[in-house]
Symmetry: C2
Subunit: 259 residues, 2 copies
């Protein structure tokens, strides 16, 4: 298993590498293809971690955990139900979540497992799916929840979830991770708010990659946010949200204080 | 007014230029910035036109024409209602529309005006909006209509409209176009199916760029599909859909015959 990160150095250069304890082993080449260690080792604390991938789109699932479906009184869906978050909303670990200028309502966190696509794929089977997965990451699918239901004729999934900084991803992409034995733990200002088993997922990552690749081509770096489970809630200005999955790390983002 | 196109030559090279009658005046430089004629002139018939821009996302409006809102019995919305179509669904003029492998239902055409963003913008005013518009194009917002309503709990706007080849754009981006005096005419196999005035729009292009730029950063090449009006319908395998706006040209795409 390796934990891949992308980072910016103090001199502005951008690199990628593998985390080893509190260091990064810099690599050169293609993060998804041929690469090798450059020999350079950087203290983790000396760099700014970036979003570990550069998605062209985030496909974000709704109603993909049995526990949340039961709580909401919804049947398990027959196929993945999703909306799309654009690349423009993506930020990495540590980046502030910014309140949209014209929105004074509740802002909600949703801790999720993210699948990062390693190779473009179209119409692949469940068995082939692992060949196209680079690894797994943490996602905070931030939502301006009052926008979602503001219009009686049209649920605004895309608008509520596409504001700049509302797609928090990171800190690393873990390849070779066995997600099925892991849990997601979300904390707000240190207090646990979500703690759920990934094995409760309705459509598994391999099923999602297969099914969604029949809906559209998945591109290198694209992220599938697997949906959240119980415990989502709103955050106040200044609050810190930490989403942790063992083997990936902790994704931390705070809601910026008002300007 | 200029009509910008992107094209592939027989040798595989990709270029851009301005249409003059049945010729293309090749340009070099940045289609959105500094550019100049190369001196080379190509017969239009000698190249394959591509999508005239490379959007990172398509923001597609629902319920943005008074006539269609009245027909559906819907109130005019208070703000633009939209879903997102990903870059992976984009094709240019002449490209076949492909039926998704697992979908046997109706496929619907929707003729629309597309706004092409020329410069990235965030939180811009209506007055500033024209500075960020490269020009206007035609969009066929193709839809697997039975997918949209297949789940009782979740309208699948993104899935129904994001299949590969379901975002037809082109043939040109017309800069300096006065959209307000123009009509969209959609024909299927030569028979007129839509003919509506763009002046019937609820949110105008300048309002859309301003309002949507407050929802997310609009990037160079991004497309806002302004929504359709009355006359949408389904197409059979082999049917040719032509969407025409004077000053832009005719966007033609056919539904591929079954493989």
């Amino acid at each position: 298993m390796a934990r891949w990160v992308r980072y910016a150095c103090a001199d502005g250069g951008v690199g990628f590498g593998v985390i080893e304890r509190d260091q990064i082993l810099e690599h050169t080449g293609d993060i998804y293809g041929k690469h090798s260690p450059s020999g350079k080792v950087l203290p983790l604390a000396s760099v700014k971690l970036l979003c570990p991938c550069a998605p062209s789109k985030i496909i974000a699932l709704w109603n993909n955990f049995h526990a949340l479906a039961a709580k909401l009184g919804k049947a398990a869906p027959k196929y993945p139900l999703f909306f799309i978050k654009p690349a423009s909303c993506v930020v990495g670990p540590g980046a502030p979540i910014e309140r949209p200028m014209a929105y004074a309502g509740k802002i909600v966190f949703e801790g999720e497992l993210g699948i990062v696509i390693g190779n473009a794929c179209t119409d692949v089977s469940v068995d082939e799916a692992p060949l196209y997965i680079h690894g797994y990451t943490c996602v905070n699918d931030v939502t301006a929840i009052e926008v979602l239901t503001a219009d009686p004729d049209f649920p605004q999934w895309s608008r509520a979830k596409s504001y700049n900084t509302f797609g928090c991803i990171g800190p690393a992409v873990a390849s070779g991770l066995d997600w099925s034995i892991l849990r997601i733990v979300t904390k707000v200002d240190g207090t646990e708010r979500q703690n759920y088993a990934l094995s409760d997922m309705i459509f598994s990552p391999h099923e999602l990659v297969s099914l969604l690749s029949h809906d559209m081509t998945l591109l290198q770096g694209d992220v599938i946010a697997c949906g959240t489970s119980i415990g989502v809630g709103s955050i106040r200005e200044g609050a810190s949200v930490e989403i942790a999955i063992e083997g990936i790390g902790v994704l931390e983002n705070s809601l910026a204080r008002q300007r």
